[in-house]
């Protein structure tokens, strides 16, 4: 069996005396599109923070492509090939869209902390940034200040920054939150396009997005994974229905299947 892209076993996180994540075990294969769903406060974002290095887990094992990453700093994990987006837009507000993307590709192209290269002479950085710019369809906003973009544009840029470095495991935290139906349809297409051939893990509340994109779904309730399965099986899973959305899950799922 090949090595899993991401492997969590019995990951726990305590804040003070409160245990927020109570033993999450999850295996995500290479190239899989995996969705993490669950009610508010279930610990989805915290799980993301534990995987991406924002917080260190209290105990448990987190492996990226077979290598342990638990307790490493975010930039170390990023250099090993994992990149994430944020629920609240997290971009470089005073830089232009192009500069945002160029910043995001610099490390992966090996320029590190260089102060002896001229940015304008780095053709590979420029080309890669323009490539991502085209991928997220924002060529017309290339020189706009990122802080002045519309919300949907900022979300697209957020995804652009996340994938620009060429990481093969992508974590997206509620990529369509706050979007209108048409905007979120557009976002789903974008996500499908930019994560082709990569491993995707996403937290998402919008069930049509989840059922439209995911190969497998994990349901997180009170810091525990109560089920991991195909969308079809999750939809019919009795304990998921009881613990989570009840009948509304069905409605959302059908909506997703239609859309």
């Amino acid at each position: 069996m090949t090595v899993a892209a991401l492997e969590l076993s019995d990951v726990r996180k305590k804040f003070g005396q409160t245990e927020i994540i109570r033993g999450v075990t999850l295996t995500i294969g290479k190239g899989e599109r995996h969705a993490l769903i669950g009610p508010n406060g279930a610990g989805k974002s915290t799980t993301f923070n534990l995987i991406s290095g924002r917080f260190a887990p209290t105990s448990g094992v987190v492996k990226l492509n077979g290598q342990s990453i638990a307790g490493l700093r975010p930039f170390e994990i990023n250099r090993m090939g994992l990149s994430r987006s944020f629920q609240i837009t997290n971009i470089f507000h005073r830089l232009s869209v192009f500069e945002n993307l160029r910043c995001a590709v610099l490390w992966s192209l090996g320029y590190k902390y260089s102060f002896w290269h001229r940015l304008s002479a780095l053709r590979d950085a420029k080309e890669r940034a323009d490539e991502v710019l085209e991928l997220i369809g924002m060529q017309h906003r290339r020189n706009s200040q990122a802080g002045l973009l519309t919300y949907a544009e900022q979300r697209a840029l957020e995804i652009g920054i996340t994938i620009a470095g060429g990481a093969d495991v992508i974590l997206l935290d509620e990529p369509t939150a706050g979007m209108s139906r048409s905007e979120s349809d557009h976002a789903v297409e974008l996500i499908r396009k930019v994560t082709a051939g990569k491993t995707l893990v996403m937290v998402e509340h919008d069930m049509s997005v989840v059922f439209g994109l995911a190969d497998r779904i994990s349901v997180l309730v009170y810091g525990e994974v109560i089920a991991t399965d195909t969308p079809e099986a999750i939809r019919n899973n009795r304990s998921v229905k009881e613990a989570y959305l009840g009948t509304t899950l069905d409605e959302h799922a059908e909506e997703g299947a239609l859309g």
């Binding site: 991406s52 290095g53 700093r73 975010p74 930039f75 990023n78 250099r79 990149s83 994430r84 944020f86 997290n90 971009i91 470089f92 507000h93 005073r94 830089l95 500069e99 160029r102 910043c103 995001a104 610099l106 490390w107 992966s108 320029y111 590190k112 902390y113 260089s114 102060f115 002896w116 290269h117 001229r118 940015l119 304008s120 780095l122 950085a125 060529q139 017309h140 906003r141 290339r142 020189n143 706009s144 920054i161 620009a164 470095g165």
Partner: protein
């Protein structure tokens, strides 16, 4: 071909793979050439000894303020102890200069700023390791602590720091090179000007490197930088070391210029001064601190000759800037660019002129009030007779106070009136041109 939008009008048309920012580069060459030309020509126009001293100090302050802005404006690090690096650079430089004078080491005086820079960078490596572990407010507090620590040590180790009197030196050492002894003030000015120009170019070039751009990213959003592969702590540390290098150059130049270095060089007053200069000029723009340094030096050198209350004026000016023009003088200038680009600037001139008149009246009112109060409160032992703008009067009588009150009233009224004119004119232009970027 796609239609280009407003934002792209300043960028060139994309033509295949060999895209170049030609117009932008041309503008840069022109600006740098004019800067160099000004630095060369200025002392030929203003030949007086005072003017040359003033310009020398401006040159030093420009390097210092720009180095400070590598932290504040470029990386978002508010430091209260930047004088530590310029000051310690100056102390090392002055000791090396004395060793050169004693014949113990060989070094041309013109290369002394490099020694100061390396010394500054060395202390950057040392102290920066501690300060840059944290960011934001914590960083600011630690820099303040380090600043106080170094200042306190300067009085504890008189061998190195020279105690109260400081360390004095003589810059005319070694054989003259092409007739340059650095004895005359103008030779020192040109030495400072060359180092100032080279430092400016180098610091500008730095903003166009990967580290320079990531520093901007750290300023905007340090958390996100960690998730694109960069250690923000390392970024802050490296920027601080580079910034300390340029601060050290400024310190060594001041050692050459004044031929004395004392505890004042590492004091919180110096650290505060460079913060004021960078902020007044505009920390958000590269050339902002250059303007700030020039204005600050005018206050500190020229104004201090005219009035004892110069610090009060500087403080008032700083408060006014923070409250009304938080982007600094540079932001005021940049606001005019779209007007100039649309050839509408001429239409603004009448209302700007009215604003200027109102400003002058207010300024006169402020100066008269400050000087009157200063005379009565601080300087009354020498009598209450004083003169201002060549007019002699007695601060003990009521008349000058009434004049001040009237000036205030007229000034405030005129300022509000001019302000509404400026706004109305701007609105009119915007309505006609469909908005300015």
């Amino acid at each position: 071909m796609e239609s280009t939008t407003m934002q792209q009008s300043s960028a060139p048309v994309i033509t295949g793979r060999t895209m170049r920012y030609r117009p932008l580069n041309l503008a840069r060459w022109v600006i740098w050439s004019i800067t160099a030309l000004l630095m060369i020509v200025m002392p030929l126009i203003f030949t007086g000894g005072f003017a040359v001293t003033l310009m020398s100090q401006m040159g030093i302050m420009i390097i210092f303020a720009l180095s400070y802005n590598m932290l504040l404006g470029q990386t978002g690090m508010l430091s209260f102890g930047h004088a530590v690096y310029s000051g310690l650079g100056a102390f090392i430089a002055v000791h090396v200069l004395n060793m050169v004078g004693a014949g113990k080491v060989w070094l041309p005086v013109s290369m002394l700023p490099l020694v100061g820079g390396l010394a500054g960078a060395f202390f950057g490596v040392l102290f920066g390791y501690v300060t840059t572990k944290k960011s934001g407010t914590t960083f600011a507090m630690i820099t303040m602590g380090i600043g106080e620590m170094v200042f306190a040590s300067s009085l504890m180790f008189p061998d190195f720091f020279g105690g109260e009197g400081g360390i004095s030196t003589n810059r005319v050492v070694g054989e003259s090179f092409l007739g340059l002894t650095f004895g005359p003030g103008r030779q020192v000015y040109y030495l400072i000007a060359i180092w100032c120009f080279v430092s400016m170019v180098a610091m500008y070039a730095w903003t166009q490197t990967p580290l320079g751009r990531i520093a901007n990213a750290v300023r905007d959003n340090p958390e996100r930088v960690e998730f694109i592969g960069y250690n923000t702590q390392r970024v802050r540390y490296l920027v601080l070391i580079l910034s300390a290098f340029f601060a050290g150059i400024a310190g060594a130049l001041s050692a050459i210029n004044f031929e004395i270095v004392s505890a004042e060089n590492v004091s919180a007053v110096r650290s505060g001064g460079v913060l004021l200069a960078a902020f007044i000029g505009g920390a958000g723009v590269f050339f902002g601190p250059v303007i700030g340094a020039i204005v600050f030096t005018l206050f500190a050198v020229a104004l201090s000759d005219l009035t004892k209350a110069w610090l009060l004026y500087l403080g008032l000016f700083f408060v006014m800037m923070v409250m009304f023009v938080p982007g600094g003088i540079a932001s005021l200038l940049l606001m005019q660019l779209p007007l100039v680009a649309k050839k509408q600037f001429g239409r603004m001139l009448p209302s700007y002129a009215q604003g200027a008149v109102a400003g002058v009246i207010l300024l006169a009112a402020a100066i008269l009030s400050v000087e009157l109060i200063y005379k009565v409160q601080v300087d009354s032992a020498n009598g209450t007779v004083m003169s201002l703008f060549g007019i002699a009067f007695d601060a003990g009588t009521l008349t000058p106070w009434i004049v001040a009150a009237v000036l205030w009233a007229i000034g405030c009224f005129a300022w509000r009136w001019a302000g509404s004119k400026v706004r109305a004119q701007l609105d009119a232009i915007q309505a006609e041109t469909g908005g300015l970027a």
